[in-house]
Symmetry: D2
Subunit: 415 residues, 4 copies
């Protein structure tokens, strides 16, 4: 999500509704909360204080900023509001670690997050402990009215878990030594199956998350309301485009032939001298790719990754196909193979669903205000926490961005 932050969500009102079950529910929620917090810290563990400090481009944030901002979220929206007698760890953090909430107040400019060397990693870890303890007390106290915000805060932190990996990958890629994040970095799975397709009749379908669904579960506000759309007949590919296929596009002059490109994409190709996906580099005549485990050869059977929307659309045009609309993707999601390997660019700009209304207050700034000049991605990637992979989930980024784990799925009209 290019807002680099959290999103407002709705939770099933039936959760924790029964007072008889509330103790168990609280204990279970507390476990989830602790597991979540620990997982974030585990992601930072392979990184030195130096690694965690640097911001390699305005769109990305330092690791230690992510550690602090996710904590700020709980402090600002839960503890300050609902925890009686809570004392802020440091009043200056309200300013330092606000991402983009105008309603909360002024904030440190985003492109300058990497200039803040203090508080350092140790102090931010103390901040995390302070807030986690206070949150544990709040959860155990059985306080009312915090369920939705708690869920939101946890999903928010999960989003930042993915951002930590995206952003540190970019930092490390700027180092001519190409150092690895760690040996256990996530890898997309290979697919050597031939590309097969599935056809859909279309018609009037329902998509989006229903707040009062029979099937409970969390969703961000921008995933609803559930609504009807008309779809014309279409076919969709059963796996993402792989590197071997993408190399064929490159070798056919893909980056030198304007006829495949949107005009703004062609400008990008020329102004930024794009010749391959981000993180690809040619060494001794062979394509290598920088990964969280370091540099290694491009493998033909692996989904192509770190392409912009412009590259995805150009590839699709070269292939005589198109990108799926997000409604087509959602309507066919259950059948799709390779889902969750790489985020999949759709042909759909990120706009409000019919009937969408932002929640009141600062939380309303989550998603709605980013609905301009961004494209929807669906699915999820190997760096995405599992609970974030669901058919209605709408990720979004500007069409020229490449540092998230994004790939290509093809579609086509049937008539």
């Amino acid at each position: 999500m290019s807002n680099q932050g959290a999103r407002s969500g709705s939770v099933d009102a039936s959760a924790a509704s029964s007072s008889a079950n509330s103790l168990r529910a609280d204990s279970s929620r507390l476990d989830r909360f602790r597991t979540l917090r620990r997982h974030t810290e585990d992601l930072a563990a392979p990184l030195s204080p130096e690694d965690q400090t640097v911001q390699s481009m305005p769109d990305a944030s330092p690791t230690k900023w992510h550690l602090a901002h996710t904590t700020w979220f709980f402090e600002t929206f839960l503890l300050r509001e609902h925890a009686r007698g809570y004392r802020a760890f440091d009043p200056a953090y309200e300013y330092l670690f606000n991402s983009y909430y105008e309603a909360v107040g002024p904030r440190h400019p985003r492109p300058q997050r990497g200039l803040i060397t203090r508080p350092g990693v140790d102090e931010i870890m103390a901040y995390r402990r302070h807030v986690s303890r206070a949150m544990a007390e709040l959860i155990e106290s059985g306080a009312n009215g915090i369920d939705a915000l708690l869920e939101l805060g946890m999903h928010h932190e999960q989003q930042h878990q993915e951002l930590i990996l995206m952003d540190i990958k970019h930092v490390l890629s700027c180092n001519p030594l190409r150092p690895a994040y760690g040996s256990g970095g996530p890898h997309p799975i290979k697919h050597d199956a031939p590309l097969s397709w599935r056809e859909f009749e279309g018609g009037l379908v329902e998509i989006g998350h229903a707040a009062s669904d029979a099937s409970p579960g969390f969703a961000f506000d921008n995933e609803g309301p559930r609504h009807r759309v008309w779809l014309d007949p279409f076919a969709i590919a059963l796996r993402p485009v792989n590197c071997g296929e993408y190399l064929a596009f490159m070798e056919d002059g893909g980056y030198r032939r304007p006829e495949f490109w949107l005009s703004a994409g062609w400008d990008c190709v020329n102004q930024r001298d794009w010749q391959a996906p981000l993180y690809w580099e040619k060494r001794d005549g062979a394509w290598q790719v920088f990964t969280l485990s370091g540099l290694r050869p491009v493998q033909a059977e692996e989904p192509v990754c770190h392409v912009s929307h412009f590259e995805a659309a150009a590839y699709a045009k070269w292939a005589g196909k198109r990108l799926p609309r997000e409604q087509e993707w959602e309507a066919s999601a259950d059948l799709l193979d390779g889902r969750g390997q790489v985020w999949e660019w759709t042909a759909s700009p990120y706009v409000a669903y019919p009937g969408f209304r932002e929640p009141a207050g600062a939380i309303g700034e989550y998603n709605g205000k980013f609905m301009a000049n961004q494209m929807v991605l669906r699915g999820g990637c190997v760096a995405t926490p599992p609970h974030h992979i669901r058919p209605t989930y709408r990720n979004f980024f500007p069409p020229d961005t490449r540092w998230m784990f994004a790939g290509i799925r093809l579609a086509e009209d049937l008539r």
Copy 2:
């Protein structure tokens, strides 16, 4: 249209189909052609060679470039292909006056159109006469297969008629003397009626231009194919927002309150120091507006004009409403009052309709390649040639642009 150029279109194949009527048809087409060409020249007539030479920003073009480029279009796509023995006026013009057709070849960089002082206005007028004469011969010859391209070329030139006015208005506004284009510049009509609304049930509707429609008529390629969409119930305002209403937004702190703005819009407000629509300036405490007739007081009953999509969306949010989707607009177009006064920003990003395919060849670059980061505007404005005002017409510009004659129409959900 932010591509600043022409668009590929489809014409009803039944036009001029009967050989018995062909002579009359040719004579009528020739009249239309001559009237069109003369009208373009009439628009340039109040302007000096100095006025016609300058490019005030990369998005805009000099008047004499418009005079030449519309001529280049006929020369390139009709005369070179279909006029036996045609001799190009000057081979260098193929390079100089190509707007954005990659398939035609390299071209002079757009931001440097204003550096070309030669050919001057006189030579460009000679170029126009040369091409107009050759076109007249071609039309009179009854040549086959030129109908669609001739229609396209004429609609293309009409688009540039509007651009001439948009662009010269910007040039003249940069002059601290605020000189007038002329005394007869177009003015939107005043509306002093209270804002009333009309409700629609929605449902499954058809929108877009049908190529084989029973009702003949020209449309650009991006207006089709005709297709079904589902609409939820909505209401739409029966006139555009006027300056008095917009002033109330301004006086309520509209440009200082982030809660009304898309995030990218709020960045624009701050980075470009927007405090009012383009061309408004405060003198002695009163708002004045620069028009093609010079500077004059803002009039409350007039449609507000020269606002960006960001301002339109912020106004709508302040008013507790939203902008219409382009499908809603088209479905209700016949009832809409004040259509054709100002282009009306919609909530819809500019994307391909289901089943859209670009035509083959250079003409395919018309519309499709601009489908990124632009929003659809509907309707038309006082500077739009009448034949360009039709329900299916899709104009498009990036959401931060303001130099076209664009205003605001409100809509809202009914449930």
Copy 3:
């Protein structure tokens, strides 16, 4: 002069001092004034209104701006002050045509001079006639106290005569048609003599213009006071470097070898992709050069021109020599061959001479305020009015600029 404007000067007080000779003096001055004004207009005569309107870069100005600004100078500093009952041609011109005089008031931003299409050339010519007439009356009236300002205004206009040629050459060079200013454009003279040198002992010498000199004559304020400097022994080349010699530098990898370049110069080479002097272009394997007469082959015997200080210094280092200091240049000026062909870059930054004081008032802004980050050039070029070629004259430009007619003369230490 990179201030693109006039300079404050001192005139010999003895000029026109005798009342007996005043009538003749006035008549002679009037002739000079009229000749001067006519010459400026003659320079603009080959140019169309389109040519005269465009500004091709922020450093340059439109021809018609030069026509107006030189007129503004007489109006502002002479007529407004000294001509009883003078009526300004248009009060708005005070703002429009002020170049950089803070003391006169605000002014139109320099990079936007090319956006002002009105007043057009005809109106500016009427402005010139209006002011020339009023000036003629003022001169004939024998008004007191105008001598120094009149001289200054005339030398100011001569500076702009050279700027007109420099600036229009740049405008025309941006046109892919490479149109000529005219067939009679000035050409540097060829030198096929071998490079010879003259040695100087140095010692304590005097340089600069002495205000109360026995030899009367005009000089700008920055040419004085006359003062002593110590020079170590040196040798200086008797003609400028020619194109053949410069080509040897290029062919020896001059533009690819950092060891010859100042660090800031090497940045320019790489960032701006310099591979040859400005206006050189390779066609079919041979170097051509764009001149005021159009494109023609580079000629080996001609002085190299349109090089920056960085290129001049790199060439000198490659040749095992150095550029002359301005004091060395002036001390040896009388012997120098080829003076007046191309401006000659010196090794001297442009700073105030010992004892320099700016005149009081707006005129004090002429020269002094530009004494930062500029290098002195000496001599004069084929586009320089003859009266501007004198040993004490100090031209100045930033070291990365190339659009003036500047070349290279070598020097070396003798011990």
Copy 4:
């Protein structure tokens, strides 16, 4: 020095010339070397790994880069050349920690020094130990021909000691918490004496360092050759301008009145919104200044610091004086009070002295290639290692830079 690096120097050939004294000399040199290296590490000691990693602007460098680059200098110019069997610590460091030596080979781009998180501080400290050990062996071995390079390397590292303080001050100032480097940061001494002046007759004087001087001692190459200059009579102030005096300039509209400013300086004032020296901020109506010890009130009696050349020149003009030329400064240096408190801007652009020749090889890139668009500063500041404060020392920075500890000394003409 704005090259941010070392400078080529000359050492007295008589040093260590006697073989009888060589053992003692080596031991003394080794002590000096070890003390020097330890002092650099002491300067970094108060800083966390996070502090040492960040680059707050392209002109500045991370602390850990300084720690590594000074080490690289010894490794590259001494150990690789003169230490038999030396094994480089890491071959990649040759690329990573080269500052600007084209002759050594390609290097990591300067503006991206802050993106290199690895090697971290610990690894760089190991690199320092590795090189320091090898250097100690080399020094103890009595190797021939290393004297000059060893001296140069030590003076080079001393220059970086000052840069460490300058650069980290800028980093910390970007933090809204305004954290202190430490409580013991250097402070300029207060002067409450009235401003007094000393007069000089001028005449023919010698300035610059003489390589074969009777008085031995190190100097950088740009401090020589010693040469004659003629000076007109002048007076020079006996202490630098203090904050109280500078506040009077500010309160008299100094930053709002163009008449005091060089044209390029006035552009800076307006484009960068300068209203006070760097690091000054107004809180509750009173001026505070950020120092290495944190924020504290501006004190009137303290030398004003962190002003650009443009501000220094504007202040001098406001005061009716001027800045001293560097030759005047050097000729009167022994008498000057307050020397070594703040670097003192002179009126002299940084150019080669007569007869200056760069040394051969990479070391020749030290100083000569930076002789463009920079002004000379003389003296030294509280952050300057004592051995760097000598009358012939020439520091240099572009006239718009403010992050070094630079202040103002006044001078004036006597006739």
